[in-house]
Symmetry: C2
Subunit: 334 residues, 2 copies
């Protein structure tokens, strides 16, 4: 099953866990110094050496726009790769969409494993296994002293970034989020919007990750991040408890959100994200009882603009999407 | 069954029809010139001559506040009688609450018959029958030249007022209501709020009635009013058609209203009236399909502050009412 439809541990606060390795092929210039020929040779290597029955290779410029954006919505590729131009870029991806390798994004290879909920250890294990398999087929740019060499110095070392997507409506509603984010910044944790660097928080979703990877082992990075996440979970749960105990006005807000989500006939993506966040919170607190977490997973993905069009198999204008979005929501919730 | 729970003709626009006769007892001063003794003798006459198994007599100051206000909410008594002080006032009322006689309001007797929907002829017939029965037992103040004598000159003549409660969301939303009300004023029709003179419109409800009764027969008054109502119905339906054809935004508004009404946990009376109006419109236009008009009738009455407390058999603070209101709504809608 697609990773984003499954439920993982601590899924009331942690939506997903992601591990990615930045890797470059030995003796080929880094992407920012590559000419077209170099880039094409990276693509050829990736396709020939790494593609298989389980891991299919696609050039991004062979895909239609909706498919590409829906891959961003599912966190399989970064929005950056679309922004920078998709010529000479590619992706290897498995059926469950939890393993993907971006080709010629910032580095030659960005190996990514994503899991539902908080699963740093298991996700790292799977990512290391992928990395190892690949290293048998491709010779990486590696330096004994610095470790894996990458385009951006912050990735040098393990080349790993571990990130966790958090749903923090409690901290947001109690206005404690600002302070929490400040503290994280100070202790070497990046906080970003829903689609990574330079993107906004949507529906109270925040992505946190390790800032640097040099000088630390993968296990140390994971452990640090896990400690931070556990602290945030406690704070988020306290904030929710506080809101819950404040009484009926809070419950009222969440129940109204459900009422609107389940009955509206036209809805923007932005409003939808907000309402889903409230409904998810209502479910996690036991206030809303007739919606399963599985339905929230479906809502979270199939109401996104491109995934909605993929799901319906139709190309839609924005207004059409706003209407069809409500039909899809009704269908999922019924 | 209580009149307000039944459905009458044209109930998509006309909520109810009311006929009342202002009558005074011969040889007793009008209410505004009565001393306490006179008022008590009016009460005695009313109780002794008019009360029966089917028409029970109550002194208003023997009732609790909630019961009195719920009678206003059901349009069985006027809010005026409560405002002016309830000493020396009474009511005769039947089980279905469609026949009631206020004692010592502006006149000694205010005989009132109320029906669901547009039923001017039948309601008049029943009111005349009541009036005739009463006239066999009580001698009215009557003048050959002027007709029935009443406290207020506008009631002299037949002493009749015919009124119709209209639900006009279409004209309100299209901002045509002002013009319609202006025209009515010019042709001798009063427009008032939901509880009569000096009250506000709530939930797009407007009460219209004949201005004077002198020089016209009851049948003429009814006929005039009926003509006006039929014209308003056409205009209201045109406005609704216009809104409906404007498309999805209008449907969205009505469906969201249903979603909020059915799911909120706390709601003021004012917001509730607004949402019920939208939901009723949605039902009448076939946009909202899972709510019967009978449920709207129930919502319309049992969400009102005093009737809510009567229904639950509890005395509640305003905040408690706002919460219990939502429980009652859920119960009715489920």
């Amino acid at each position: 099953m697609s990773w984003y439809l499954t439920n993982g541990p601590e899924s009331d606060v942690v939506v997903s866990t992601r591990i990615r390795f930045a890797r470059n092929i030995k003796d080929i210039n880094f992407v920012n110094k590559c000419n077209n020929e170099d880039l094409e040779s990276v693509l050829s290597v990736a396709k020939e050496k790494l593609s298989s029955k389980d891991l299919k290779f696609y050039r991004l410029n062979d895909m239609d726009d909706i498919t590409r954006i829906s891959l961003v919505e599912k966190h399989c590729i970064s929005p950056d790769i679309l922004r920078k131009g998709i010529d000479n870029t590619g992706i290897l991806i498995n059926d469950d969409e939890n393993i993907s390798i971006m080709v010629n994004e910032e580095d030659h290879l960005r190996i990514q494993v994503i899991s539902s909920g908080l699963q740093l250890d298991d996700t790292l294990k799977l990512a290391c296994k992928c990395d190892e398999e690949i290293s048998k087929k491709i010779k990486y740019a590696y330096n004994e002293k610095y470790g894996y060499l990458t385009s951006c110095p912050t990735n040098v070392g393990t080349g790993m970034r571990a990130s966790v997507m958090l749903h923090l409506p409690g901290l947001t509603m109690t206005r404690r989020i600002g302070k929490v984010l400040d503290v994280m910044n100070k202790i070497g944790i990046n906080v970003r919007g829903i689609y990574g660097e330079g993107t906004d928080s949507q529906g109270n979703m925040y992505q946190i990750s390790n800032k640097v990877s040099l000088g630390l082992t993968c296990e140390e990075i994971i452990q640090n991040l896990n400690t931070v996440v556990e602290k945030i979970i406690i704070q988020e749960c306290n904030a929710r408890k506080y809101l819950f105990e404040k009484g009926i006005d809070f419950e009222d807000r969440l129940c109204r959100a459900y009422g609107i989500l389940a009955n509206a006939r036209k809805m923007s993506s932005k409003e939808c994200n907000k309402l889903i966040s409230d409904v998810k919170l209502g479910i996690d607190l036991g206030i809303i009882k007739n919606v399963t977490p599985e339905k929230i997973n479906k809502l979270n993905i199939y109401t996104k603009s491109a995934s909605l069009q993929k799901y319906l198999g139709e190309v839609l204008t924005e207004e059409e999407r706003d209407i069809k979005r409500c039909e899809v929501i009704k269908n999922i919730l019924k």
